[in-house]
């Protein structure tokens, strides 16, 4: 088996001896992503949760006098957002956790193309998931709308922007998770950080801004300011990744949260994208400068 097979092998190798081009790395990362079971499970759960929670929420508020079905459209994403976030963390940290990174980075010694390819593959996968989750959310509000005889029109007013914002919201959160995973390289710390900045931080800031959440006595609260000035807390809230992300799922005409500068969904998206970029650059720097175990 030595002499006989050695000759054809050398012949085969001489035909194409080019190394890892960027396209090949992207193809490899895509294969790695879709060949795991967890992305498919996470995507399925994300879509299902988006649809079901939106449906339940729309049903619950369909009795309100001023019920607007489109107002309930993004309610399911409050829970469904965890899906892409976790998926991103698992993919970003997964290579390092399992030791697969040793294989990957011996194949692509320049390393950073792998990170970029992971971002592209994850964005594509998350985009499909996000479109399906948004479609599920739309389906979720239809029964409540029908029960009130309200037609759902996705093409008028702020709604196309809202739908687009919902899709991008899920995609960018997946990338934030990926970036944190790639930076921290370990699942638990990355996951805790992601959950902290996206879910906990807004709650903390909201608690600070809203005495009622802290359980204050209503009569002792001063009347709400008629002119909500921009406060430090409000500014911090919309500049935090979680707060900025939430802006993306609001209508452009919704106006700012109390005490916050009016960034609107586009501004929120830009703030979140800036966060993702910062973390990705940090991950890339770590990838270049530090050893891979």
């Amino acid at each position: 088996m030595s002499a006989a097979t050695a000759t054809p092998q050398t012949a085969r190798a001489t035909t194409a001896r080019s190394g890892p081009t960027f396209g090949r790395v992207v193809a490899a990362e895509w294969t790695k992503l879709v060949s795991l079971r967890s992305p498919w499970w996470t995507a399925a759960v994300t879509v299902a949760v988006a649809g079901v929670i939106t449906y339940l929420s729309a049903q619950a508020s369909s009795g309100d006098p001023g019920f607007q079905p489109v107002g309930s459209l993004s309610t399911g994403l409050a829970l469904a957002q965890i899906g892409p976030l976790v998926l991103g963390v698992l993919v970003g940290a997964g290579e390092f956790r399992t030791g697969a990174s040793r294989t990957t980075f011996t194949l692509v010694p320049r390393r950073w193309p792998v990170l970029v390819a992971q971002v592209l593959a994850m964005a594509a996968f998350a985009l499909v998931t996000a479109v399906l989750a948004t479609a599920a959310s739309v389906l979720g509000i239809l029964p409540a709308a029908a029960s009130r005889g309200i037609a759902v029109d996705l093409t008028s007013g702020d709604t196309p922007g809202l739908v687009l914002g919902m899709v991008l919201f899920l995609v960018v959160l997946a990338l934030l998770g990926l970036a944190l995973g790639a930076l921290l390289r370990r699942t638990v710390p990355a996951l805790v950080t992601a959950l902290l900045v996206v879910l906990i931080l807004p709650i903390v800031l909201m608690t600070a801004g809203d005495p009622l959440v802290g359980g204050a006595d209503p009569p002792s609260i001063g009347l709400p300011d008629a002119d909500p000035a921009t406060t430090v807390l409000g500014t911090l809230a919309v500049l935090s990744p979680g707060g900025a992300a939430q802006l993306m799922t609001t209508s452009a005409s919704a106006g700012p949260m109390p005490g916050s500068p009016d960034l609107g969904p586009v501004g929120g998206g830009l703030v979140l994208a800036a966060w993702v970029l910062v973390v990705l650059v940090a991950a890339a720097v770590r990838l270049r400068a530090r050893d891979v175990r």
Binding site: A60, S61, L199, G214, G215, A216
Partner: protein, 280 residues
Amino acid sequence: MTTVAPAARAAQRAPRGAPARTGPTPGRVLVAEWTKLTSVRAHAWLALGTVVATAGTAYGLGLFVRPDDGRSGSWVVTSGFVLAQLGLLVLGALVGTSDHTTGTARTTFAAVPRRLPVLGAQVAVTAVAALVTAVLALGASYLATAAARAGDAPALDLAVPGASRALLGFVLASVAVALLGLALGALLRRPADALVTGMVLAVVGDQLLAANPGRVTDTIRALLPSSGARLTQDDAALAVLDAATRGPQLGVWGGGVVVGAWVLVVLGAAAYRLRRHDVR
């Protein structure tokens, strides 16, 4: 049979090991689990990080409390609970899953084949670690908010009905969240799964449902483990919460009962899985 000669040697063998060679007792398993918990540096860092994050949050929130907020001094001290419960959830989940993720389960359950004493010991050591962490976090929060309480924020007055209970409740609710994390970890055996589930049950679910107040959602909210956070509220705050809800009124200790029941149920499920299922 080539075994004849060695078998004869075996018969002559003098008994080895001088003292009594007894097996795993609950006390010994407890000591072993304590060693396992304290010998991983990440656990200590996590506890320290939890204390710092909790006190830091309380300090930060204390800066924004104004006298006319209607908030109590105990709220100012316990306001870092959101961060404390995240840290303790992670601690519990790590203790519950690390045997399974690192393969230590093979040595652990080969040494203690009955398995349940291990889970029991993990509950005990996690409770102790969470208790210590929560007390330190509370103390640190108290010190961190001293300046705020001296300024605009209300002073901590233990004469306020329920104020001292709220401080005790902070510790109790923290321990409960850690045990919930442990139980979820032991049940799901993967840290990411346990953390996400724990976060949804203990924090996110409540926030989500709060956006849609109603009889059904308020009832579900009351029955989620996040009700445990009620333990950190004084009487006045609890009265406000009970007045606002359209679901069941949990009163003073109801939230603690709910989270305690969750811990027991999930621990039961984890014990069942541990007994019935293979260990990898």
